[in-house]
């Protein structure tokens, strides 16, 4: 196990090993998202309270899950990079940040759109939406900090520290925003909290969540492999690879 992880830490080995994972991951992502999307849109029953606007859950919740998971993954990669000086971890962190920001944006957008039929306004300072908005700013901060450094190494380390600081703060922010919201808006119902969903409602959701995770891993792997080639372009193994590929 450790030997395998150790091998994965080297860009060359990583590039060779992950080549076989790409196609299955992309196929799984496309299949799961298509199946979950069609099921959720056309076959799942409408909610008795919210009607068909309830179907937004099938994109809103996976996007929100991914938005939070990617930030945690980014901080974990930052920790690995800072502690063990594994450059691959930083490459992965750099490549997943824009996707995380995009997912946060989609979660915000779908939440706001969902708010119109449910609350009657485009924006409600709901605890979840507010936390999501703050998460979006945290993503922007990490991406901007990395870009602001002239040296790649400096930007990588600074972004790692900020991601770790952010991940420590996310639970505190979530807790305080929840507390703030209950203080100001008592007894308003939250859109995603549903007591006991029937299986035909939550199964498509499960498919979508799994599909989104597969998509995230597939994108991060593909992009990290490109980044490896870019950064190691003068190494002998990359040259050999290019010669072979001709």
């Amino acid at each position: 196990m450790w030997a395998f992880l150790h091998k994965l830490g080297s860009p060359k080995e990583f590039y060779a090993i992950t080549a076989r994972w790409l196609t299955p991951l992309w196929l799984a992502a496309v299949a799961l998202i298509l199946a979950g999307g069609v099921w959720g849109l056309a076959f799942a029953p409408a909610d008795y309270q919210q009607g068909n606007s309830f179907r937004i859950i099938y994109v809103h919740v996976p996007a929100a899950f991914l938005a939070q998971s990617i930030f945690v993954a980014m901080a974990a990669a930052g920790l690995v990079f800072m502690v063990w000086k594994i450059k691959l971890a930083d490459m992965a962190a750099a490549m997943m940040a824009p996707l995380g920001a995009g997912m946060t944006f989609v979660a915000l957008f779908s939440g706001a759109v969902w708010g119109v039929p449910t609350w009657g306004t485009w924006w409600q300072w709901d605890a979840r939406l507010t936390s999501m908005l703050i998460l979006f700013f945290l993503y922007i901060g990490v991406i901007a900090l990395r870009g602001a450094f002239v040296s790649r190494e400096g930007g990588a380390r600074a972004a790692s520290v900020l991601a770790m600081v952010g991940v420590i703060n996310i639970p505190i922010i979530k807790f305080s925003v929840d507390w703030w919201y209950t203080l100001h808006q008592p007894a308003s119902f939250s859109i995603t909290e549903k007591p006991a969903m029937p299986a035909e409602m939550w199964l498509p959701l499960l498919l979508m969540v799994l599909g989104f995770y597969a998509f995230f891993i597939a994108v991060t792997l593909t992009r990290t492999r490109s980044e490896i080639l870019r950064r190691e372009s003068s190494k002998r193994w990359v040259r050999a690879l290019v010669e072979e590929g001709r």
Binding site: A144, R157, A158, V161, I168, I173, S176, V177, L183
Partner: protein
């Protein structure tokens, strides 16, 4: 008057590590306080900014006392937070430019402790004055009676956390040219819990509720940032100076 007289703090003697740390801490704090007080403009600017921002709101919204009284706690807190943010960029920048920050990094004393001394100096000359000034501006916003003490106390407690968290951002951006806007982008999202409980304390005092819970949470936030922030600041300083 010889040069020996003008040096008030003696240099730490070698061979006394525990005592040496205390001396280094005090010397760093003392140096930062003296340097800042020599340029009183920089100490007074955040206070003037605070007063100015507070002046803008009655002009921009409405001079009616009942309306102002309802939004006063949040306004005072947000304005104080922005004023503290404004001065944050200078915590490490001057020292980085004249090279004394590198001396700090090379010192045998643990960097987190020395960084904490610099943050303490920043808080003493921005957070604390802002907290003391806030009740005065509260009068101008017709803040209801009975909440003035809580306002000052919550600001004093909260701004210490703000200085600590903000110093992480300041340390991360010392190496970046014109890092001011970037600094606020990094730091403001992290300020939100402090703002919620700080403004909440004042709000609660106005409504006649208990404020101990809010102040306790502010204290807990301060304790947590006291534990974690110095290490993050030290790591960030090393990154910024060594690339």
């Amino acid at each position: 008057m010889s040069r020996a007289d003008s040096r008030s703090t003696p240099l730490p003697e070698a061979g006394e590590p525990a005592d040496g740390l205390a001396v280094a801490w005090r010397a760093t704090l003392h140096r930062d306080l003296v340097l800042r007080l020599r340029r009183p403009g920089e100490v007074l600017n955040p206070l003037a900014f605070f007063a100015l921002v507070i002046t803008l709101f009655p002009i921009g919204i409405s001079p009616e006392a009942p309306l102002l009284a309802t939004i006063a706690p949040g306004l005072l807190w947000v304005a104080a937070l922005l004023a503290a943010l404004l001065s944050l960029d200078g915590v490490f920048r001057d020292d980085a430019e004249d090279g004394s920050l590198e001396q700090l990094l090379l010192s045998p004393q643990p960097l987190p402790v020395l960084a904490l001394a610099k943050v303490a100096a920043h808080w003493l000359l921005t957070g604390l004055p802002l907290a003391l000034m806030a009740p005065l501006l509260g009068v101008m916003l017709s803040l209801p009676a009975g909440s003035y003490g809580v306002l000052a106390l919550s600001l004093a407690l909260g701004s210490a956390s703000l200085s600590l968290i903000g110093a992480i951002g300041a340390a991360l951006t010392v190496g970046v040219a014109r890092g001011g806007v970037l600094l606020s982008l990094l730091v403001l999202p992290l300020y939100i819990p402090v703002l919620i409980f700080g403004a909440g304390a004042v709000q609660s005092a106005i409504l006649g509720g208990g404020v101990t819970a809010h102040l306790a949470i502010l204290g807990a936030l301060l304790a947590a940032s006291l534990i974690f922030a110095p290490f993050a600041i030290a790591a960030a300083l090393r990154i910024s100076l060594n690339g």
